[in-house]
Each structure stands twice: as C-alpha cells, then as structure tokens.
C-alpha cells in the first residue's frame, strides 16, 4: 500500500536546523510561548520541590523570580533570530519578571532584601 502524504508541511532541513526551527515556529505560533512556560515551570517548580525536600520550607517568590529571569534571558537571546520571537511575547515576559520581583521584595522582612 503506498504511503499517504502527510497533511502538514514537513520541516525543510536542507538549509540547516535554524530554518527548520523557524519553520516550525511559523507553522505553530504557540510553540515559543509554551517552551518559555516550560522553562519557567522547570525552574520554579523544580527549585521549590528541591528546596522543600532539603530544608522543609519553600521560598516561592524567590523561585518565581529566578524562573522569570531565566525565561527572560532565553527570550532575549531568541530576539536575535528573525521570526522566532514577537514583541508581545517579549513584553509579557518582561512584565511577568517585574511582577515576580515585586512579589519578592514585598515578601521580604526588614533585615532582608
């Protein structure tokens, strides 16, 4: 039985991995926000669970800020590639980072930062 052609456009690897990734991002625009959410989740949730196991307490504002800053660094690196990042996603990441910082500094006691 002959192989049926797929209903989607296959990624074109002839011009390199960069174009294959950007072709995927163009075909599925939610890919990059989901990837950034994954990075944020790994750092925040993974760090919180690890701290809970080690010390018994969770400093969630700190882990949220660290996750947000990691996501911001990756987002900024992605802005150097045409077609990978858009302004709305980058602005949202910056806003969430500022909010996590706001939560962190409001959570601190008098003798802490």
């Amino acid at each position: 039985m002959p192989f049926a052609p797929p209903n989607y456009t296959m990624p074109n690897l002839s011009s390199g991995m960069d174009d294959a990734i950007i072709g995927t991002v163009t075909a599925v625009p939610i890919f990059i926000p989901m990837f950034l959410l994954f990075v944020f989740g790994v750092v925040t949730i993974g760090g919180s669970i690890s701290q809970k196991r080690r010390t018994g307490l969770v400093d969630l504002p700190m882990w949220a800020t660290m996750g947000a800053m990691t996501t911001l660094m990756i987002s900024i690196a992605m802005t150097t590639f045409e077609g990978m990042m858009n302004l709305y996603t980058l602005s949202t990441v910056v806003t969430i980072t500022i909010f996590c910082g706001f939560w962190l500094f409001m959570d601190r006691g008098r003798n802490e930062i």
Partner: protein, 142 residues
Amino acid sequence: MGQIKFMVGMAMVAMFAISIVGYTTNFATENTVAVDIGDNSELVNLKDTSETNLISFASEANGSLDALFKGSLQQADTALATGSSFKTINEKKTTINIITEGFRGIFGNNTEFGVLLTTLVSLILIISGLYLYKTWVGKNPN
C-alpha cells in the same frame, strides 16, 4: 508591614524594574535584533518615569536627612508638626505606575479587569496614607 520595610521594598521594586527594562533595551541597542523592546513605548515610559521618581526621591531624602542633622531642638520645644522628614510620595507614584503597566501588559485594557487594578491601587493609597498619618502624629514609623 513596617514603614521602613515598605519604603525599602518600594525602592527595590523600582530599581529592579529599571534594571530589567534597561538591560532588555540596551541589549536591543547593542546587537542586531529582530524584536526591539524599545518599540513598546509603555515599558520604556515606565522605566523613564521610575528613574525620574527615584532620582527625585534620592534628592528629597538627602535634603530631609540634612535638615534633620542640621536642625536642633531646644528644651520644651514642641515636636515636628509636619511629616516632611519621611516623605514617601514619589515611591507611591512609581509603584502605582509599575502595577498599572503590569496589569495592562498582562490583561490588556479590558474593563472587566479594571476592578482588579482599581482595588490594588486604592489599597496602596490607603496604606501610604495610613503611614503618612502615623508619621505625622509622631508614632514609631517602624
């Protein structure tokens, strides 16, 4: 929350916001990027406003401290009638700007979410007002 902790927190939040937006903007300026955060005028305005508020806060705080050191109280003098030594007005503006732009960035200008923003801003205004009143009356600002 004590007033000192509140003031330190507000100043830290403003400096954090300035550094994050400044880093992102300068990265776009110095490298060849496809997306420039400088095109988002709201975030750039937030950074500029926070910088202006922090600079004026720094000069007012230095002025108040100078007045405190160089002033004198004689025996049987009445206590300071004004709360000018502990002004926190500009930090309030900075924080309200940050919260407003943050909510607009995440939720958009939707009217349904406007109630969240109004409530949060009102809460900060009430807390600032209570702390100013406490300082005016002469209680321990901590």
